[in-house]
């Protein structure tokens, strides 16, 4: 079983608030990813990191930012949440050279 954790699982927050979605893995994986998934839709990559102090934007433009100060931790921050940010956010990790990506349980964000 994969050891990758996301908190919170569910979040309802007002417009304009700053939020941070947490993602941690205990597998020592150097590659980590954030995907965004609207209900009933496919997943889109919004951020990825291939190691400490490396972050890159993904294929889908996002107003969120990420940081990677420690190998095991890859938080995602929205400085000012808007209703258009309502979505599910899934974190994943992979070992360099590994074949499989492991997904966290996801955070379902609703901005009202």
């Amino acid at each position: 079983e994969a050891d990758i954790y996301q908190t919170p699982r569910y979040l309802v927050i007002g417009t304009g608030k700053k939020i941070t979605l947490e993602c941690s893995q205990t597998m020592g994986h150097d590659k980590m990813y954030w995907y965004q998934q609207d209900p009933g839709m496919e997943l889109h990559l919004i951020h990825y990191s291939y190691g400490v102090n490396s972050t890159e934007k993904g294929d889908l433009s996002s107003e969120s930012t990420v940081s990677r100060i420690r190998t095991e931790h890859f938080p995602l921050t929205l400085e000012s949440a808007r209703p258009s940010h309502t979505s599910q956010y899934l974190c994943a990790s992979r070992l360099a050279g590994g074949t499989e990506a492991f997904f966290g349980q996801g955070t379902r964000l609703t901005v009202v």
Partner: protein, 115 residues
Amino acid sequence: ELKVEQNPLFLSMQEGKNYTIYCNYSTTSDRLYWYRQDPGKSLESLFVLLSNGAVKQEGRLMASLDTKARLSTLHITAAVHDLSATYFCAGTSNAGGTSYGKLTFGQGTILTVHP
């Protein structure tokens, strides 16, 4: 840029029947993945296909990969209600450089199995 397309997008099956979900991709993909997602849940890895001709089976599901045709299939044998879920295929591409293992997903196939 890798594009991944699945069909059908919606599949309603009777229990006991067989069916196939198709996954076409646009450029060379290092690997092809199949995931299952239950409503409101995260993704569960089903199969990772690494090379042309690869075939993997787990229970009533069998996945195959044809890299020349840029096609992967997920075959369901004698469907049961518990297989109802959304199934995604995804690929990684290192065209133009290192992919860093970034996944490009298909649209997903919503499978409903009826008694």
